[in-house]
Symmetry: C2
Subunit: 234 residues, 2 copies
C-alpha cells in the first residue's frame, strides 16, 4: 500500500481507436487504491471511487453503487491528502488555478479532493457503447449532460502533466458525486464553490497495461492520437 | 521484486531543457532492478547494468565499473527473459524487426538482451556536461563516437511504445558492452550479428519522478519537447 504512488489501469491512447472493453475487474483495481475515477466496458458510466465504494453515474442520470464490472481505464490510489484548505471561488478556472497552486508543481501527477457546496455543476456520462466500438471522439458526442444547482458534494480526480498526454488526459480529469448520491459524472463545468480542498502529489505512477488482451496487443496506437484525446476529454 | 514491472527514474522530457542533474543514487536505483541502462549527472557516460554491476562507458572510450553516482534518467528491471532464440542478421534494422516479432507487440514496454558476435558496432558516449547544463539537442552534438569490428558482447535495452514519447525514447533504446569490458556505449548502428536474443515484456511500468527536486518541480516541461527528443536520441 504505497502512499506516494498513483495506479493507472489502461492507457488513454487505447480508447481513441475504440478499445473500450474492460480489461481489469473492479475487485483487482481496488487492491491498488480505494479512491479514484474510471469507467466500465463500453464507457458505460462515469465511476467515482470513494472509501473503496464504487459509484457509477449512468447515462440515464441514475447513480448506482456497484460491486462488479471491468474497467478499460481507471486511476486509483490510497489517499494521503495534505490538510484540507478552505476554498471559495466563483469559477472552475479559479478553482483549477488554486488546485495547481496547492499541488505546487505542474510536473508531478497529483490527486485533488474538493468537498463543498456548488452553485452549479454540469457533468456528463457517456452512453454505453456496444461492439463494434466507435472511436473516442464519436463517443464523446454520444453523451448525456446533466446540470444541478446548489448541490453539495465531492469534486475529485487527478492532475496529469502534459508530457504524458498519450497515457492520461493532460490537465485535470475531474468527476463529481453529490452527497445524496443522486447526481454526478465527468465534470464539464462548475461555478460558485465554497468548500475545502485537499491535494496529494505522487512521486510514482504505475501504468498497468492489459498485457494479456489480444486486441490491445495488436492495436495500432501509433497514429496522431493526441488530437482526438483533446477533443474527447474537454 | 516484481518481474513484470519496468522501473524508470526520471522522464526523458526533463532532459530536453537540460535537467541533467542526478536525482537518484545508484544504490537506490539498484533496489528496483539489476539489469538496465542509464546515465550519470551531466550525461557523464552511458551506463550498462548487468547482474547488478554498473559499467560506465565514458566519452574517452574507457569503460569503468562504478559503485557510486546519481542518475537523472535510468531504466532497470529484474530479468525474467523468455528462452533465448538464435538470431543471425546482417543489419540493425533486421535485428530490430526480429526483436519486435519476438516481443510480439508494439504496445507494451519490453526489454531485449542480445549476446553475440557483431561484425561491427558503432556507439557513442556523450561528453560530461557542466552547469549551466545545455539542452538535450546540444549535448547530442557533443559526443564521442566509437566503432569496433568483430566484437563479442551484449546488446541490451528497452522498447518503448510511441504513445509514451514524453517519458521514454520511442522505439528501441539500446546500449552495448563488449565481453572484455573494453568497448561500449549508446548504440548508433551495428551490422553482421550472430547470437542469441531474449526478450521480456512488461505489463507494468513504474515511473519514478524526482519529487523533491526543486529544479524539476519548477521546470517548464510543456513545450514541444518531442521534436528535440527525436533529434537527440536517434
Amino acid at each position: 500500500m504505497k502512499k506516494d504512488l498513483l495506479y493507472q489501469h489502461g492507457t488513454l491512447g487505447a480508447l481513441v481507436p475504440g478499445l473500450l472493453n474492460g480489461t481489469q475487474p473492479l475487485s483487482e483495481l481496488l487492491t491498488h487504491g480505494d479512491f479514484g475515477i474510471g469507467t466500465l466496458t463500453g464507457l458505460n458510466g462515469e465511476l467515482i471511487i470513494l472509501g473503496g465504494k464504487v459509484y457509477q453515474v449512468q447515462a440515464s442520470g441514475k447513480v448506482a453503487e456497484i460491486s462488479s464490472g471491468s474497467v478499460p481505464f481507471a486511476n486509483v490510489h490510497f489517499p494521503d491528502f495534505g490538510a484540507p484548505q478552505p476554498i471559495e471561488a466563483r469559477t472552475a478556472q479559479v478553482v483549477q488555478t488554486k488546485m495547481l497552486a496547492q499541488i505546487g508543481t505542474r510536473n508531478l501527477f497529483a490527486a485533488v479532493s474538493l468537498h463543498g457546496r456548488f452553485a452549479q455543476v454540469r457533468a456528463r456520462a457517456v452512453k454505453e457503447q456496444h461492439r463494434p466500438f466507435p472511436g473516442l471522439a464519436a463517443t464523446a458526442a454520444d453523451q448525456a449532460v446533466f446540470s444541478r444547482q446548489d448541490v453539495t458534494g465531492m469534486l475529485m480526480g487527478y492532475w496529469s502533466p502534459q508530457l504524458y498526454a498519450g497515457m492520461a488526459s493532460p490537465g485535470f480529469h475531474l468527476h463529481f458525486l453529490s452527497d445524496d448520491h443522486d447526481f454526478g459524472g465527468h465534470v464539464l463545468d462548475f461555478a460558485g464553490v465554497t468548500g475545502e480542498l485537499a491535494t496529494q502529489r505522487f512521486s510514482d505512477v504505475q501504468l498497468h497495461l492489459p498485457a494479456a488482451d489480444t486486441e490491445f496487443l495488436q492495436a495500432d496506437l501509433e497514429g496522431d492520437l493526441l488530437a482526438d484525446i483533446t477533443k474527447a476529454e474537454h
